[in-house]
């Protein structure tokens, strides 16, 4: 029976080519617009570390007090989104989480070993040894450094594969010496390909998305001792009292990011209690104002998904809705025009159910064809989106199997939904009346 309905649907669709084409085009464009924007949205709103995001937390401490907070144009914002140097070092010293790391952003220059080649800039972070197991940094060669290296301010470095290629020409470079900002470091690890998006451990400075990958990771205490200054944001409620990098470290300016791994909700609660105690001790002048957000809540709080991406998705979904209303209208007209045919079929013994099947198959076929066109247009859209949207975001949008399947499914289901009411009307046709009127 299915084959027969397919045949009927094909005949009917062929009978009015312009209209069929119009419906397919409508579905195709509607689906493609929403799937293209969806692919961008999916890329920027995804979980960058799904196997672990529920265990990672970002602590916030109000280091500025209620007088500054009162001037905050957005009181809902809560404490500042980074820590002072003093707070970060204090939290590290207490070491209350399972794994934790304070960090700040670097933009050091690297001097290639080969004579005559110009130095180049790279991006990186100063971190503690626990950073590596905490965010699961993949290693191609070697590993991170040890807690003892943190303590002793060892001159060690973890570098990316890209920096490894550029400086050493690739290969296992563990043990080799690399010149970073004029100082020599011993390479202890070469990272595998690692470019998490969003850059979840430091969204404050990266804004979430970066086309540049993490070039070097250096020990926090070592870079502080070497006066390697912060390349990320520095926010001050008042100008530092002393000048220079040391002045910044002693000031109430916030410039250090912090992440902590807590394995259970109970651990998180304990850490939150500890954080309050810590804040009470550090800032006796005001009631402790702290937050401990899980990673996904933190990404949401920092508005990592650009509002434009969300607006585009909503507008494109609106377009899809209009396309569906349009298709529903056209299918309705098309189906009802065949009232007499339906009447004959019903009189010859076809049940309502069979009429339903027949017309839904016809709608489904329009959906399938629309989906195929939509797929092609989505592919074009994803290629073209790089031209329209900022590269750091557009590059993340990809046409993969799941998007492929979703596009087809959305097209077919949506068209069948649009065809539901017209089919209902078609099935309700009174055979006797139709036969009589002719």
């Amino acid at each position: 029976m299915f084959a027969y309905y397919l045949d009927l649907a094909l005949r009917s669709l062929k009978r009015n080519k312009a209209l069929t084409g119009l419906m397919i085009l409508t579905i195709g464009f509607g689906v493609a617009a929403s799937m293209t924007t969806w692919s961008v949205f999916r890329a920027v709103s995804g979980d960058p570390i799904p196997w672990k995001s529920s265990k990672l937390y970002v602590p916030q401490i109000d280091a500025w007090g209620p007088t500054v907070q009162k001037n905050n144009p957005d009181p809902e914002k809560g404490p500042p989104d980074a820590l002072t140097y003093g707070d970060a070092v204090g939290l590290m010293r207490d070491h209350r989480g399972k794994l934790q790391s304070a960090m700040y952003m670097l933009s050091p220059s690297v001097v290639p070993a080969k004579v005559g080649e110009h130095p180049f800039n790279t991006m990186g972070h100063a971190v503690f040894s626990e950073f590596f197991p905490m965010v699961d940094v993949p290693f191609k060669y070697g590993s991170g450094w040890s807690a003892a290296d943190d303590e002793s301010r060892a001159q060690v470095a973890v570098i990316s594969s890209k920096v490894n290629r550029r400086v050493f020409g690739g290969g296992d470079s563990v043990g080799k010496t690399i010149n970073i900002d004029g100082h020599d470091y011993r390479v202890v690890g070469v990272m595998g390909e690692w470019n998490p998006q969003p850059r979840f451990y430091d969204v404050v400075n990266t804004g979430g998305f970066l086309s540049q990958d993490e070039g070097v990771l250096l020990p926090f205490n070592t870079t502080i001792a070497a006066d390697m200054s912060n390349d990320g944001n520095t926010n001050c409620s008042e100008a530092p009292k002393e000048t220079g990098f040391v002045g910044l470290q002693r000031s109430s300016c916030i410039w250090i990011e912090y992440m902590v791994q807590l394995d259970s909700a109970a651990d998180a609660q304990r850490f939150k209690d500890y954080l309050e105690g810590f804040a009470r001790q550090r800032y006796p002048g005001w009631a402790p104002n702290v937050r401990l957000r899980g990673l996904m809540a933190w990404l949401d709080h920092e508005h990592v998904v650009p509002p434009d991406t969300r607006i585009s998705l909503y507008v494109a979904l609106g377009l899809l809705l209009v396309c569906l209303v349009n298709t529903a209208g056209l299918l309705l007209a098309k189906f009802l025009r065949r009232s007499s045919e339906i009447g004959v079929r019903r009189a010859l013994g076809a049940s309502r159910r069979e009429i339903y099947t027949q017309f839904l198959i016809e709608a489904g076929m329009v959906g399938l064809a629309g989906g195929a066109l939509g797929l092609l247009l989505t592919w074009l859209g994803i290629v073209g989106v790089g031209w329209v949207l900022p590269r750091d975001i557009a590059d993340l949008a990809r046409l993969d199997v799941s998007l492929f399947a979703t596009t087809l499914a959305v097209a077919i289901v949506a068209t069948m939904l649009a065809g539901l009411y017209p089919t209902m009307r078609a099935a309700a046709v009174q055979p006797a009346w139709q036969l009589k009127s002719n």
């Binding site: 464009f29 110009h118 004029g182 100082h183 200054s229 220079g244 494109a316 349009n326 025009r337 900022p390």
Partner: protein, 419 residues
């Protein structure tokens, strides 16, 4: 012609009429808001930066193993390295002038601070971005001085990147001057930056802040020129090439800088992010890339929407015409002219579209209110809705014309034929 027969006919197609009305309403709501978004982005992109952008380019570089810039000696060393670079650039044959700056409009690297009218004010009067440089800043950037004077070379100091900023005099933009002193008499007045007093000696017509992000929207024109060279391990040079020599100057600049001191980084990749010599045109394009992208995307969606709705009206009306051939024939046989038939379908469309646009106008305003709440968007001017209404009514009439004309061509003989 009375509307009665049209209404009676429409009643027979309730579902179809409802769907097309709904489609017109949704189209209007979305198109109005999308065009409003486009308008806002275009306004943003077209804001003048206040500087003369022609023949201007920016070199960003950092020295490898530079002094820290924390003590007096190393600050002086950095300062002389910076001045040597400026001299190198000025000596290039294709360069008209060159200055060291901490940032430029649209570069998105901002040093901002609060400006107060009293030394111990709790909350500053205005937020502003600081541009550090010398008396060459005003002429090289092509800023228009509308009151007061430029800095003199005697007023220029220099300080480390994290030093204490205590300029004796400043130049402000007119927007900032008016914000601080609404009576427009900012010239000569004393204001406070980080509790240090300073005197406004000049006012420039306009200069954007470096950030194009939304956090700077409310103080977008508030810029301050500080007569201080800022010394750090990295530096930026704004260079004005001789007319028509921009490309040549941009090629020469890194070569000359490397020749004078090879221990530095000047990136020369292909992508904007991977290079550190940019023409101002590139900087402008890059700064507004998201806004341009959003405008293009909204434009494409509007175009698809209008096409779909137009085609939908054509399709549906064609069907109705096909269905009513016999009735049209009868009307024609009873004396209706071709124009009568044409008018009939046009009026019918006008009624459907009329209800649709009224609904759509309400939806459009609702959608705008929702976007305002969700995304801090501005209130849409009613003009957008009115123009949208006209556009959709015209679209409807245009779309209905072909099928209606076909209907008017139906011969009266049809009345005598059975279907």
């Amino acid at each position: 012609m009375t509307l009665h027969p049209i209404l009676a006919a429409l009643k027979k197609h309730k579902a179809g009429v409802t769907l097309i009305t709904l489609q017109i309403a949704l189209t209007l709501a979305i198109v109005c808001n999308a065009v409003f978004i486009i308008g806002q982005r275009v306004d943003r992109i077209n804001r003048p930066s206040g500087i003369d952008e022609n023949n201007l380019f920016l070199v960003t570089q950092s020295w490898v193993g530079a002094p820290t810039g924390d003590d007096e000696g190393s600050i002086d060393k950095l300062d002389s390295m910076q001045q040597a670079d400026v001299a190198t650039l000025r000596n290039l044959p294709d360069v008209e002038s060159a200055i060291a700056v901490n940032t430029l409009p649209l570069v998105n690297s901002t040093w901002s601070t609060g400006i107060s009218l009293k030394p111990d004010q709790q909350r500053s009067t205005a937020q502003a971005a600081l541009y550090f440089g010398t008396e060459q800043m005003v002429p090289t950037l092509g800023l228009k001085l509308v009151a007061g004077r430029n800095f003199t070379s005697a007023e220029i100091g220099h300080m480390g990147f994290r030093g204490h900023n205590k300029p004796p005099v400043i130049i402000v933009t007119k927007a900032l001057g008016d914000k601080l002193f609404p009576k427009g008499d900012a010239l000569g007045k004393t204001v406070y930056i980080d509790r240090n007093p300073t005197t406004i000696v000049g006012i420039v017509e306009r200069m954007q802040v470096p950030s194009v992000n939304s956090w700077a929207n409310s103080w977008f024109w508030n810029s301050v020129l500080i007569p201080t060279r800022l010394d750090a391990g990295f530096s930026r040079y704004a260079v004005r090439a001789k007319p028509g020599r921009l490309d040549a100057a941009m090629r020469e600049a890194p070569k000359a800088l490397y020749a004078s001191n090879p221990m530095r980084v000047i990136e020369t990749g292909a992508k904007f992010e991977d290079k550190s010599v940019h023409s101002f045109a590139e900087i402008r394009r890059y700064a507004y890339r998201a806004d341009r992208g959003m405008a293009v995307l909204m434009g494409v969606i509007c175009l698809i929407l209008l096409c779909v709705t137009g085609a939908g009206i054509v399709g549906l009306t064609s069907f109705w015409v096909g269905q009513r051939r016999k009735q049209i024939g009868i009307r024609r046989a009873l004396g209706a002219t071709q124009v009568d038939i044409l008018r009939y379908f046009q009026t019918e469309n006008l009624m459907i579209a009329g209800v649709g646009v009224v609904l759509g106008a309400i939806l459009a305003v609702g959608l705008n209110l929702w976007l305002m709440k969700q995304f801090q968007m501005d209130r849409m001017s009613i003009t957008y809705v009115l123009v949208g209404v006209v556009v959709l009514l015209v679209l409807g009439q245009g779309a209905v014309f072909a099928p209606a004309r076909r209907a008017s061509k139906v011969s009266p003989v049809e009345a005598t034929r059975s279907v």
